[in-house]
Symmetry: C2
Subunit: 316 residues, 2 copies
């Protein structure tokens, strides 16, 4: 699919604060279609900044976030949620009038609480969250198609300028995403169900396996194709990002976890009681959700996610 | 990779009892490499039997399992675990002297209890379990490479003839699998960790999502890319097979579920208490298991399982 080149670009200078998977994928997508006149960046470590210029995701990098945002008409906060407050306090005085500040954090209320107080009048703050990712992290993990046909949620403030929202939406769509708007608390609840709690239970199951004494790690690894390996992919995501998600979306996650435990106990009891009918009915209902996801284009119907069969046996 | 054609074939006549994903994949793999002189089959429904001949996975089908096993030197029981006892009782009197009977069930103690009493002297019973599968089921879902580089566990009886075991092992390896032998209770424990409990928690999480009132099913489906969709694939597996797994591997599953709940409560408490250090340390450890699985060739390191990015937005 050939993408249109945007001329003029949607933003003249985009400042990426944090240069991990999401920011580097945005850079690739923006460069591919000419969506930004210039892309500048800031990352905490010298090494990441160097890599960013080397692989071409940033035209220029700066040693501080304050310098990076100067003169930018779009600032993207792409740091762990727990680091947002400090960054916002630092950049606040250096933001240009009329600029837009957005973020890509997986929770929204905590970001609003951390960032909004530092945004000066005349600057548009429009929180956002692209629901896309892989289990990899860092500046080299990005790729231009990460957002293709994924949802990008925007949670504008009640006083957000509709024109600024429309411009940001245009950028997200030009990177391949579908955009929805919703309010902040609803976002955090929806994501607790579709992302945060699934991650926590995946981490937990992998942790249980690791603690087993009577089953060796090598057995778990060898025989993982029966379902476990899919959980390990989720449980390989960035630990800092996920720590912050759970600490900052505490209420919604604890709510969903409570429901999960109730439900699990009900199924556990059915197993103990030998209630095959209840189990069968439950497992039949959950199939319908999967069909919906495939029909909505959010996953492939190919068996096993279309994984290629391994080419050869190890050691051969 | 070109496979050798086995001449003579490893078995002269293989009888597949049950013609779902595993049996049809075995048929494709055996035909591809000439591992069986003839493949005959039995399935409960007329429709499945007709399809099996139509798509060529069976040379002949029979209206009863008793007829299908006559003259076969390998009989593969590929029906849900709950159906094994009845099938074994039916075929017992019709098995040929010197024949091998194996199965592909996901639990082994229950299969041994159900099948062994019906196996006459002079017939070799060698339970087995290929750790391979997809979320699809039925005779059309099979493909020749399903077992490629997957593990096929054999759990021979104490009195199993080593020559019969070696021959069955040769078949599994010729279909592309790696073979390990282990004892029956250990198999059921290992699989409770790597497969059965992961499936149950995936089913549970999908069930929780479905029950939410404040989050619509369409929201869950649209925003599933954040982790949930991977669980839905696991939770789309065949309900009858999984009902039987949980009912027949009850003790091991309840044991692992107990550990899972303890562990989950510990993490839940860390979230409630805001213990970021504990969460971060836990999430860091689980990454190592993922690396092990990729190094062992049991999954791809490609981001997102190497799923292709969706080509276009819906409606475009």
């Amino acid at each position: 699919m050939t993408k249109p080149i945007y001329a003029p670009p949607i933003y003249d200078r985009v400042a990426l604060i944090g240069l991990g998977l999401i920011a580097s994928s945005m850079a690739h997508a923006m460069k591919q279609s000419g969506l930004a006149g210039e892309i500048v960046g800031y990352a905490k470590t010298e090494d990441t900044r160097r890599v960013a210029v080397e692989i071409g995701i940033c035209d220029r990098v700066f040693g501080s976030a304050a310098e990076a945002v100067q003169g930018a008409d779009l600032v993207v906060l792409a740091v762990p949620v727990g680091a947002m407050a400090e960054i916002a306090a630092e950049i606040g005085p250096h933001l240009s009038q009329g600029a837009c500040v957005t973020d890509v954090g997986s929770v929204k209320q905590a970001v609003v609480d951390a960032v909004a107080p530092h945004i000066p009048a005349g600057v548009h703050f429009i929180p956002g969250h692209p629901i896309a990712g892989t289990e990899h992290s860092g500046p080299r993990s990005g790729f231009a198609t990460l957002f293709q046909n994924r949802w990008w949620l925007l949670t504008p403030m009640p006083d957000s300028d509709p024109k600024a929202v429309a411009r940001l939406r245009r950028l997200c769509e030009a990177m391949g995403a579908n955009v929805d708007e919703m309010d902040v608390p609803h976002h955090d609840l929806v994501l607790a169900v579709t992302s945060h709690t699934p991650h926590l239970i995946a981490y937990t199951m992998v942790g249980v396996a690791e603690h087993m004494r009577r089953v060796s790690n090598s057995e778990i690894i060898k025989y993982s194709a029966g379902g476990f390996r899919d959980l390990t992919r989720i449980a390989a995501s960035d630990p800092t990002m996920w720590r912050d998600v759970f600490l900052t979306n505490k209420e919604a996650v604890l709510d969903i976890l409570g429901r999960f435990t109730e439900e699990l106990f009900m199924l556990q009891r059915a197993i103990r009681m030998g209630d095959g009918e209840q189990l069968h009915a439950y497992f039949t209902r959950t199939r319908a959700i999967r069909r919906g996801i495939i029909e909505a284009g959010q996953d492939t119907a190919a068996p096993d996610f279309g994984r290629a069969a391994p080419a050869a046996k190890p050691g051969e």
